[in-house]
């Protein structure tokens, strides 16, 4: 180009097999990300009578059910911690993950009116869906702190690890959500599998029981579920049990990174056809 221009130029070309992730462009659209999160939260609470109280009722109710059936009736051990706190502490990251996973998987199909009419980096859609759950998490987290006060549990310095663990849970949900949201655009029966997947995943994660009851020889395989590391990490950070999150957490980080990077590339590759098939 002989003439120097100050305006940005865009090249429009056919689909490529290995598109870049486009993080820079994603950063340019951070305000849209913020507005979409804001919209989802605002609309969610505008249309319900109880509003934000739902965020607390749901995990509290599940905690009661788990405490009654697993803690009291089935006598599931809880590493010496009162069972309600033990399970609530795991329910929070679990619900963050499950919610983020479900929302992001359905996000592209749910926002198809945007996708077919305006250009923006499509990654904004599942990312905003995932981050929307963090606000719910923050509200429920206050309840957990109150419960810990009630049971007289004082967390140690490990509590500082909570933000990193939240990030890990979000990244895990995004990693899986990217794959599923892109697949969901192409194959609409994916959505029916998501609820099922989340239910099975709940029992493969130490929410209602401690990971210590899993036999030693299965631990590594069990740890491939990234939420094992996250949930154990939470219990370690807040309740001090298990003693250290150690190996599962390390495996979890590796699995999450693999899911995320793979998901990003898969998403970017399929993204080029979204507007045509959504």
């Amino acid at each position: 180009m002989q003439n120097v221009r100050t305006v940005p130029t865009f090249n429009i070309e056919p689909s490529t097999r290995w598109p870049s992730i486009g993080l820079r462009e994603l950063w340019d659209y951070r305000e849209l990300l913020y507005f979409l999160i804001w919209r989802d939260i605002k609309v969610r609470y505008k249309q319900t009578v109880l509003g934000a109280i739902w965020v607390i009722i749901q995990p509290l109710f599940i905690m009661l059910v788990f405490s009654l059936f697993f803690g009291r009736l089935a006598g599931v051990p809880s590493d010496g911690v009162p069972y309600p706190v033990f399970t609530f502490c795991a329910l929070l990251p679990w619900q963050l993950f499950a919610h983020a996973l479900t929302e992001s998987s359905n996000s592209l199909v749910g926002n198809q009116n945007l996708i077919t009419k305006v250009y923006f980096p499509r990654l904004v859609v599942p990312i905003s869906a995932v981050l929307g759950g963090v606000v719910d998490f923050a509200i429920a987290f206050v309840i957990l702190l109150l419960m810990m006060v009630f049971y007289g549990i004082v967390p140690g310095w490990q509590i500082l690890a909570v933000p990193a663990l939240v990030l890990l849970a979000v990244m895990a949900a995004l990693g899986v959500g990217l794959w599923l949201s892109a697949l969901n655009v192409q194959y609409r029966d994916v959505r029916y599998t998501i609820n099922f997947l989340v239910q099975v995943w709940l029992f493969a994660t130490p929410v209602a029981y401690p990971s210590s009851i899993v036999p030693e020889k299965w631990r590594v395989l069990y740890g491939l579920n990234p939420m094992v590391g996250v949930v154990d990490g939470f219990r370690w950070a807040l309740l001090g049990k298990p003693e250290s999150p150690g190996l599962p957490l390390l495996i979890s980080v590796i699995v999450v990174l693999m899911l995320l990077v793979g998901g990003l590339y898969y998403f970017r590759r399929l993204e080029q056809q979204f507007a045509d098939i959504v």
Binding site: P8, F10, L32, F35, R39, V43, N113, K117, Y119
Partner: protein, 429 residues
Amino acid sequence: MSNLAIRCEGLSKRYRIGAAHERYKALRDVISDAATAPFRRLRASRNGHGNSNGHHPPASQLAIDHNHIWALDDVSFEVDAGDVVGIVGRNGAGKSTLLRILSRITKPTRGRARVYGRVGSLLEVGTGFHPELTGRENVFLNGAILGMRKTEIARKFDEIVAFAEVEKFIDTPVKRYSTGMYMRLAFAVAAHMETEVLIVDEVLGVGDALFQKKCFQRMNEIGQHGRTILFVSHNMSALRNICKQAVVIDHGKLVAQGEANRTIDQYLANVGDEPQDEIVETPTFTVTSVDIRSENSPVIKTFDPVRISVKFIPKTPIPDPCLFVSILTLESRRLASLDTRDFSVTAPIQANEVCELGFTIESLPLLSGPYQLEVYLKNFRDQLELVPHSYQFEIAETQVYGGRKLDHWFGKVGLRAQAWGSSITDERV
């Protein structure tokens, strides 16, 4: 020389036929597909698809493939910065596909384009508006979706609200807005984008006449500020007013490009030639063509005698066929209607026979502009069935009263009139 704003080279876009019905597959289909894939690949390579040495045969040669359609076929053109370019063509000609590619919503199958500057696209008014949110909230949300910065929206907020004339309701959820208010606000946001290139699809066909005028004025303003606009519309007089250049697209190909008035004339001359023979189904009828023509066809002029004819095949015998036709503005305002029941036309009609019903009109008193026909056919249960398709036609701009050409300021209806005058000298008045 002036700078380039857009350059397209051989843009082509292929879609699967029937995509509308089976746009997405079920996972189980994929599994069964996978089993037959090797055979299909074999067949495809025989059809010339296996061509992988980088040199592609022209898209038209591949049109032998009956499973696909080229919505856009080897389109190349350039737009200078600051030009306002109208894109015309019939429904399904590929205009929207072109806009979608240039807006980066979808990728071309072949070819490339380069756009110099940020692109704002308005393919639909109110994309992303959420009914539960207030006007104020929607302005910010919609602005962000269109690619505006928060500070930019905040700076223009008052201007946007004033343009939309919704000051009083800005903190009311938009679900309580009237359609007019909703459209005004939605257009206002988009109209205040500050991108170098603006892409506008047929979105101004909505709303009342006053609002349309305002929108066109705004588009004119934007154009005069040296920004590049690509504008699709069926409203030829609006295109003539706003655009300097025009591009004609037909069957996915660029067939003409040049100065707006001349190009549009040429387009209208060609388009009027063919009946709009798209096959449309109603519960009882298959409508094969709806046509309006005059002795001047392809061009229809004010006060021309015209003939409207509708060809259809009934799926059951109809003892007493009946046709109801209305002439509407593009905003669906009914201007006139005709019903065969008011005339004594009777011919019982057998099933699966091609039939034709119609009207001749001695003189069509419509002024220049786009119009549409709305067609109803009566079934054996005496119910009118709407033919779900808008048949558009255009009245050419002519010198109705012998003098200058009349534009939309003169309204829609031409009057057969004479002017007269005399000096009044009689004092008794």
